[in-house]
């Protein structure tokens, strides 16, 4: 029975293949009293043995695929199973307390995970995840189940799962996994980000794919439209095969412009950089030949955890990003988060309107300890590459002063502690609150650069939530109002010899790009996956024409008029 599931397009491309369902096994770790200690210990040893065999198989198959790094992870897992301290302690507990192996094992494992959690090292945190993985396997064997993880297959598959954990996504092999479908999640969940970075077509948020898909049946993943087709007809397979080839062709054509300069036909150059939110995405930034990172969202470090990330933890990530990017500029945006996200350790108030509330720079200026920690980590990392800093959600000049002064204070503090800090750090701000666009001339005197966050700027300007289906029609990037605000900001910056970039989605919008070139935007920052496309469009323009277009567009009254103008102009490859 052919069926279509609708979800969220998380990673572009088309994939056609056999379904492999990732089942989350059910584990039961209740404590039970036992009578026969010896046979319980034997049961425990047997489970360990089975787990070891699993891991040896996986390690060897991974080694064959020449992935030495991954093989070492499983090597470490094997050592955990053989750890005398761990194994002996569990046996002693079984004997002394006369409880079941599951419970004794789990208690020991939790203790170790606790110890590792205390160590302020991102590497150690990952090892805690390893221990959890190994522990799960042992518990499964104790319960008589076997963990059918993705390592078991050699043939190409479409992976169907409720969601993919970070450790599961880390183990994905793009040679084997041709497409991904999940029940839950959105464009910014870990699995979506990984899928994009690994260039595997993915559709997330389908709600019931794991229930509806039969293992081994054919599935089509349309990562462009966000659809999944189960048991497609021969017709459909043909159609999608054609679509897939067409998409591949476009992608490979785009790779041909890697290495070419980002300049218009008449030689006008701009910076083309990337927006990312995690260390793993740096790979995609480099693959797509971005000139730098125009927005590094630091929020992910703070999300989905029980405690504040320490200065050391933050420092390690910032340093790792800068090191990997070598001398290419990286603009870190300080914490931009609020009550809409679940952050238990911040104890944020419940607000009626979190997007107009206590968040981002407002939060940071009040919780100075939090802000200082982040600033210290950033400044310490500054000597490892080309670091720049920008503040989000600035509304007034006073906020800018406070933030900048605090940064300078923290810098002094570090220098007094004899900690090396770069002396060449550009400090700028996001332009997302309309008041700053209106007052751009004043701000331009003080900042080193602007980065226009059009996603929020447009929402605040038209007072409409783009996620609200009833009013999302008011989210109009190419409306003359927005163009005027952008122009104000760019002109103000240029008057003071400063530059303006844009990190909102408008920067990769094919209709907007010619206008932005015409208005004089200096830097385009887009998702890694749209960089080459953006470059292609810029390279097909002339600045002269773009300037004419922009001038005309500014005099128009509606978005439709602007769009028609751009679409009708000869040069734009829309």
């Amino acid at each position: 029975m052919t069926k279509q599931l609708n979800g969220i397009a998380a990673s572009s491309g088309i994939a056609i293949g056999k379904a492999f369902i990732l089942q989350e096994p059910k584990l039961c770790i209740e404590e039970r009293k036992i009578d026969d200690v010896l046979s319980e210990i034997k049961r425990f040893e047997h489970a360990l043995e089975l787990t070891k065999q699993d891991l040896v198989m996986i390690r060897d198959s991974v080694k064959m695929k020449m992935d030495q790094e991954k093989a070492e992870i499983f090597e470490a897992h094997l050592l955990i199973l053989e750890d005398p301290e761990l194994v002996d302690k569990v046996k002693v507990t079984i004997e002394k307390e006369k409880i079941n192996a599951e419970s004794a094992w789990n208690t020991e494992v939790q203790t170790i995970i606790g110890i590792f959690g205390q160590i302020n090292d991102s590497y150690m945190k990952e090892r805690a995840a390893d221990i959890k993985d190994v522990s799960k396997r042992v518990l499964l064997h104790l319960s008589g189940q076997q963990w059918k993880s993705i390592d078991w297959t050699a043939e190409e598959v479409i992976l169907i799962a409720e969601d993919l954990s970070p450790s599961e996504t880390a183990q994905l092999d793009p040679g084997v996994v041709k497409g991904i479908v999940t029940d839950i999640g959105g464009r910014t969940s870990h699995s979506a980000i990984m899928a994009r970075t690994m260039q595997i077509p993915a559709v997330v948020g389908t709600k019931e794919s794991t229930q509806l898909v039969e293992p081994g049946t054919i599935v089509i993943v349309d990562g462009l439209e966000g659809n999944v087709i189960l048991n497609p007809s021969t017709e459909q397979i043909k159609t999608y095969e054609t679509k897939r080839c067409a998409h591949q062709k476009i992608q490979s054509e785009l790779t041909r412009i890697i290495g070419l300069p980002v300049q218009t036909e008449d030689g006008f150059r701009v910076e083309l950089v990337a927006n990312i939110g995690s260390l793993i995405e740096v790979e995609a930034v480099l693959q797509n030949d971005a000139m730098g990172i125009g927005l590094f969202r630091t929020e992910f470090l703070f999300m989905e955890r029980e405690q504040m990330p320490s200065e050391e933890e933050q420092f390690q990530v910032y340093q790792a990003v800068l090191t990997k990017m070598e001398q290419k500029p990286v603009i870190f945006r300080t914490l931009d988060i609020g009550g809409d996200k679940h952050l238990p350790y911040l104890e944020l108030p419940q607000e009626m309107n979190p997007f107009l509330g206590f968040r981002a720079i407002r939060l940071c200026l009040e919780r100075k300890d939090l802000f200082r920690t982040q600033l210290r980590a950033l400044l310490r990392a500054s000597v490892y590459g080309h670091l720049k800093i920008m503040f989000p959600m600035i509304a007034t000049l006073d906020e800018w002063h406070q933030a900048k002064n605090l940064l300078m204070e923290v810098k002094e503090e570090l220098l007094c502690e004899k900690v090396p800090v770069s002396h060449d750090i550009s400090v700028g701000m996001m332009v997302e609150i309309p008041s700053t666009a209106v007052m751009a001339e004043q701000f331009a005197k003080e900042v080193d650069f602007f980065s226009i966050g059009t996603n929020d700027l447009i929402q605040y300007t038209f007072a409409a939530d783009r996620m609200n289906e009833r009013v999302s029609y008011l989210y109009q990037p190419c409306h003359p109002t927005i163009l005027r605000l952008v122009k104000m900001v760019i002109d103000a910056a240029h008057k003071e010899g400063k530059w303006t970039g844009m990190c909102g989605e408008m920067a990769s919008d094919p209709i907007a790009i010619p206008l932005l070139i015409g208005l004089g935007l200096d830097e385009f920052s887009t998702n890694p996956q749209t960089i080459l496309q953006t470059k292609k469009i810029i390279r097909a323009l002339t600045r002269e024409e773009a300037q004419h277009l922009a001038e005309k567009a500014l005099s128009m009254a509606t978005s439709e008029q602007v769009e028609t103008l751009v679409k009708n102009s000869a040069r734009t490859p829309v």
Partner: protein
Amino acid sequence: MITKTIVVTRKNGIHARPASQFVKVATSFESEVTVIKNGKSGNGKSIMGIMAMAIASGEEIILSTSGVDEEQAMEALENVLTELED
């Protein structure tokens, strides 16, 4: 039993591969292996123990081996701790 104070010069300390390597080498010998850092001691054959010690590059530890092959063990383990390549 032989005891030696060693400065760990392994580039990234005893994390990841070095920890696994250390434990593998330690386990290959019959001798007991003990690592002491800052007064805390751990079983050199325990991967959990070694990783939890979080031995950083430049740190000083006391390595102790005891058994039939204690000399070979000491030599092999010292190599792991001071190997410059990572």
